[in-house]
C-alpha cells in the first residue's frame, strides 16, 4: 500500500512538472510553433524557411527581444500528412501554449491548421503552401500568407506570356491541385491578353512521375507553339532533364513556375536546358541591391549556402512578428493582428506590404528564362528578368472579397 502511494505521489509530482512549467515559462517569452515537413523531398524547401526564421530570431533576441521578451520557437515534423500536422498544431497551442503558429509546405495541412487557428484565434503565418484557398476562398482574420500562391504565380506568368506572339498552347502538368491551379491561372490570363491564343491539347501525369519521355514525344508530335508545364517539387527537375534529352527544350519554348529558381537549376549544373521561361520571387543574385547582398552574406555566413525563397519567407515572417508586436505596443494577439494589416516593411527584395483585405504579402514576381552566365560557372541562372509588381498581377481586394467563403 505504501509503495502504491509513493508511486502515485512521484507520478503526480512528475506530471505536475509537465503541467505547470510550460505555462509559467510562456509568460516570459514569445513562443512560436512551426509545423512543417522535415522528412522526404519537401524538406529541400522547408529547412530554408526554418533557417531564415532562426537567423532573424537570433538577431532580434540579441537586441533584447520584442518589447523586452525573448522569442523562442519549436518545430514539429508533420511528414507531409495533414492529419498529423493538425494534431501537432493543436498540441503546440494547447500544451506548449505557443502564441503564434507557422508553416507549412503542405496546402492541405495549412488549410486544416488555418481552420484551427481561426477557432483558437491564434495568428498563423503560412510560409510555403501554394494554394490560393488559404487567403482567398478560406481566408480569415488570423491567417497570413508569406509566400506567393498558385493564383499569383499563374496570373503573373499569364500577364508576361500573353504579350508573347505564341498562339497554339499545350498544357501539361502534375495531376493535383497545385498543377491544375497554376495551369488554369496561366491559361486564363494568357487569354485575357492574347485573344488569338488557343489550347490544342492537355497532358496530365501523376505526381512524382519519374519518366516524362513518353509524354514529351506525344507533345512534340502535336507541334504546339508553347507549353505551359505545371509541375512542382522534383517534377521540375525531372521535366527539364527529359526536355533536354528529347530535344524539346530546343524546339518548343515552355514555362514552369520556379523553373528559374536555384533549387531547380543548381542540381542540374551546366546541363540544365537554356531558354526555359519561369517565374520566381527570389534570387540571391537579383536584385543586386545592398539590402539583398547583406541578407545573402548573413545567411551564407550562418548556414554556408545561398538563401532561397524559403529563407526570405522565414526571415520576413520573423520581421513581421517583431514589428507587429512593437507597433501594437503589447503582447496581445488581437492588437498584433490589427497591426499587421497593411504593414509595410523593408526586405531584401524591396518594400513589402501585407494587404489588409486578404493578409497576403505582396511580393514582386520575377519573370525570366534560364541562361548560362560566366559569373556562375556551377549552374544556370535567370536571364532577361522582368519584374512584375504586385498591382499588375495580384487579384484586387474586390476580387478576393467575391471569392471569400467567410465574409
Amino acid at each position: 500500500m505504501r509503495k502504491v502511494m509513493l508511486f502515485s505521489f512521484v507520478f503526480a509530482a512528475i506530471f505536475s512538472l509537465f503541467l505547470f512549467t510550460p505555462s509559467s515559462y510562456a509568460q516570459k517569452t514569445i513562443k512560436v510553433g512551426i509545423v512543417d515537413t522535415y522528412t522526404g523531398p519537401a524538406s529541400a524547401f522547408t529547412i530554408d524557411v526554418r533557417d531564415g526564421f532562426e537567423m532573424a530570431i537570433k538577431k532580434i533576441n540579441a537586441k533584447g527581444g520584442i518589447l523586452g521578451r525573448k522569442v523562442e520557437f519549436t518545430t514539429r515534423d508533420e511528414k507531409f500528412k495533414p492529419d498529423i500536422g493538425l494534431a501537432m498544431a493543436k498540441e503546440l497551442v494547447l500544451k506548449e501554449k505557443v502564441d503564434i503558429l507557422m508553416g507549412t509546405i503542405n496546402s492541405a495541412t495549412a488549410l486544416a491548421v488555418s481552420d484551427f487557428a481561426k477557432k483558437e484565434k491564434i495568428p498563423f503565418f503560412v510560409t510555403f503552401s501554394k494554394s490560393e484557398k488559404i487567403v482567398v476562398d478560406q481566408g480569415h482574420r488570423y491567417v497570413f500568407n508569406m509566400n506567393e500562391n498558385a493564383m499569383m504565380a499563374g496570373r503573373a506568368a499569364g500577364y508576361a506570356l500573353g504579350k508573347k506572339p505564341y498562339t497554339k498552347y499545350w498544357i501539361a502538368g502534375d495531376d493535383y491541385e497545385y498543377g491544375h491551379s497554376i495551369a488554369n491561372n496561366v491559361w486564363e490570363n494568357i487569354q485575357k491578353v492574347n485573344s488569338k491564343a488557343v489550347l490544342i491539347g492537355q497532358t496530365w501525369w501523376k505526381v512524382g512521375e519519374a519518366d516524362f519521355t513518353p509524354y514529351i514525344t506525344q507533345i512534340l508530335a502535336a507541334k504546339p507553339d508553347f507549353i505551359i508545364v505545371a509541375t512542382g517539387g522534383s517534377g521540375m527537375v525531372n521535366f527539364q532533364k527529359a526536355a533536354k534529352a528529347t530535344g524539346l527544350s530546343q524546339k518548343i519554348p515552355f514555362y514552369q513556375h520556379t523553373a528559374i529558381e536555384l533549387s531547380v537549376l543548381k542540381p542540374q549544373g551546366q546541363n540544365a536546358p537554356e531558354g526555359v521561361f519561369g517565374t520566381a520571387n527570389y534570387f540571391f543574385y537579383y536584385p543586386d541591391t545592398p539590402a539583398n547582398k547583406a541578407f545573402v552574406d548573413e545567411f551564407k555566413k550562418a548556414y554556408n549556402r545561398e538563401p532561397r525563397i524559403g529563407a526570405l519567407s522565414g526571415y520576413m515572417t520573423a520581421q513581421y512578428i517583431a514589428k507587429a508586436y512593437e507597433k501594437a505596443g503589447a503582447i496581445d494577439k488581437e492588437k498584433m493582428v490589427t497591426a499587421l494589416e497593411g504593414m509595410v516593411l523593408d526586405s531584401p527584395v524591396g518594400k513589402l506590404e501585407i494587404r489588409a483585405c486578404d493578409h497576403q504579402l505582396v511580393l514582386p514576381m520575377y519573370f525570366g528564362k534560364t541562361k548560362k552566365d560566366p559569373k556562375f560557372p556551377d549552374f544556370l541562372v535567370a536571364g532577361d528578368i522582368e519584374t512584375i509588381t504586385g498591382k499588375d498581377y495580384m487579384p484586387t481586394c474586390d476580387e478576393v472579397r467575391k471569392m471569400r467563403k467567410y465574409k
Binding site: 492537355q202 496530365w204 512524382g208 519518366d211 519521355t213 513518353p214 509524354y215 514525344t217 508530335a221
Partner: protein, 299 residues
C-alpha cells in the same frame, strides 16, 4: 519503310520504344523484388529504398570521378555493389533470423527499414535535389521513326534491359546457387535436409535481388532528379508488376513490366489527358481474369 509505317504509324512505334525503355528500369527493379519474394518469401518494401540509395550512390560516385563519362561508368559498377553490401549487412544482421516469421511481420519490418533508409539518406546526402548528368556519349537524341526524336540514353536502356534479362536467366537456370534457390523456393526444409547451407544461399539471392534494385537506381539517375521520396512511387509500381506477373516469378516480372510500361506509353498516345490510368487499368484487368498473376506464382 513507308509501307511499314502505314501498318504501324511512326508515332506509335516511337511511343512503343519509349515505353520499352521505361520497361527496362521497371523490369530490373521488380525482377529483384520478385526474386526475393520467390526464394526468401520476403515482401521487401525496403526494395524501393535500395533503388533510391543506388541513385544517390550513383550521384556521389559521379561527382567523385569528375561528373563526366567516367563517373557514370564507375557509378554503374560501384553503386549496385554498394547497395549489395548494405543489403548483405541487413540480411546477415536482421533478416536471416526472421525467415520463418509471418508475412505481415516481415512486411512491417521491411517497411520500418524503408523509413530508416529514408532518414539515413537524408542524413548522408541532405535534402537538396541531386542530378546525375547523362554521359557525354548518350547526350542528345536521334531521329527515329518518321523524324520523331528519341533520346540516345533511352536507346542505351533498351540495350541494357535484354542484357540483364539474359544474365538473370543464366543465374537462375545455369548456376548452382540459382538452382538451389529455385529448389528452396518450392520447399526450403527439403533443401536444408539434403545438406545444403540454405542460409548462405538465401543471403546470396537476397543480395542479388537488392543489387538489381541498386542497378535500377543507377540507370534511372541520369533521367530524373535524385531525390528523397523517389522510392515511394517506384515500390508501388514494382509491387503491382510483381503481383500482375505472379509472385516470385521473374519472367512474370518481365511480363508485368512490359504490360505496365507499354500500357502507360500507349495510353498517353490514345488519351494523353488521362494517360495515367492505363497502367492501373491494365493491372485491374489482369487481376480480374488471373487473380494469381499471369505466370505461375511460386507462393
Amino acid at each position: 519503310m513507308d509501307f511499314f509505317y502505314a501498318i504501324i504509324p511512326p508515332k506509335v512505334l516511337s511511343q512503343i520504344f519509349v515505353g520499352l525503355s521505361r520497361t527496362t528500369i521497371l523490369f530490373i527493379v521488380s525482377s529483384g523484388l520478385s526474386l526475393i519474394l520467390g526464394v526468401l518469401r520476403i515482401p521487401n518494401v525496403a526494395h524501393g529504398s535500395l533503388y533510391m540509395i543506388g541513385a544517390f550512390m550513383a550521384y556521389s560516385l559521379s561527382v567523385l570521378f569528375g561528373g563526366g563519362d567516367l563517373g557514370f561508368w564507375m557509378a554503374l559498377i560501384g553503386a549496385p555493389l554498394g547497395v549489395a553490401i548494405i543489403s548483405l549487412v541487413a540480411e546477415r544482421g536482421v533478416f536471416r533470423y526472421l525467415y520463418e516469421r509471418e508475412h505481415l511481420m516481415l512486411l512491417l519490418l521491411t517497411f520500418a527499414f524503408s523509413l530508416v533508409f529514408g532518414d539515413l539518406v537524408k542524413i548522408v546526402w541532405g535534402t537538396e535535389y541531386k542530378s546525375v548528368p547523362v554521359p557525354q556519349m548518350f547526350h542528345g537524341f536521334v531521329y527515329l521513326f518518321g523524324g520523331l526524336p528519341f533520346p540516345l540514353y533511352n536507346l542505351f536502356l533498351l540495350i541494357v534491359g535484354p542484357i540483364v534479362a539474359v544474365a538473370l536467366w543464366l543465374f537462375v537456370n545455369k548456376t548452382k546457387i540459382g538452382k538451389i534457390g529455385r529448389a528452396a523456393a518450392v520447399d526450403r526444409e527439403m533443401v536444408g535436409a539434403v545438406g545444403i547451407n540454405v542460409s548462405w544461399v538465401f543471403a546470396i539471392v537476397f543480395v542479388i535481388g537488392c543489387l538489381l534494385a541498386g542497378l535500377g537506381g543507377v540507370l534511372v539517375a541520369p533521367t530524373v532528379s535524385v531525390t528523397l521520396g523517389m522510392d515511394h512511387t517506384l515500390i508501388m509500381e514494382a509491387f503491382l508488376i510483381v503481383i500482375m506477373g505472379g509472385l516470385g516469378n521473374i519472367w512474370g516480372a518481365l511480363l508485368g513490366a512490359l504490360i505496365f510500361g507499354l500500357s502507360q506509353s500507349l495510353g498517353i498516345l490514345i488519351w494523353s489527358q488521362f494517360g495515367i490510368i492505363f497502367p492501373y487499368a491494365a493491372v485491374i484487368v489482369v487481376l480480374l481474369f488471373r487473380p494469381t498473376g499471369l505466370l505461375k506464382s511460386t507462393w
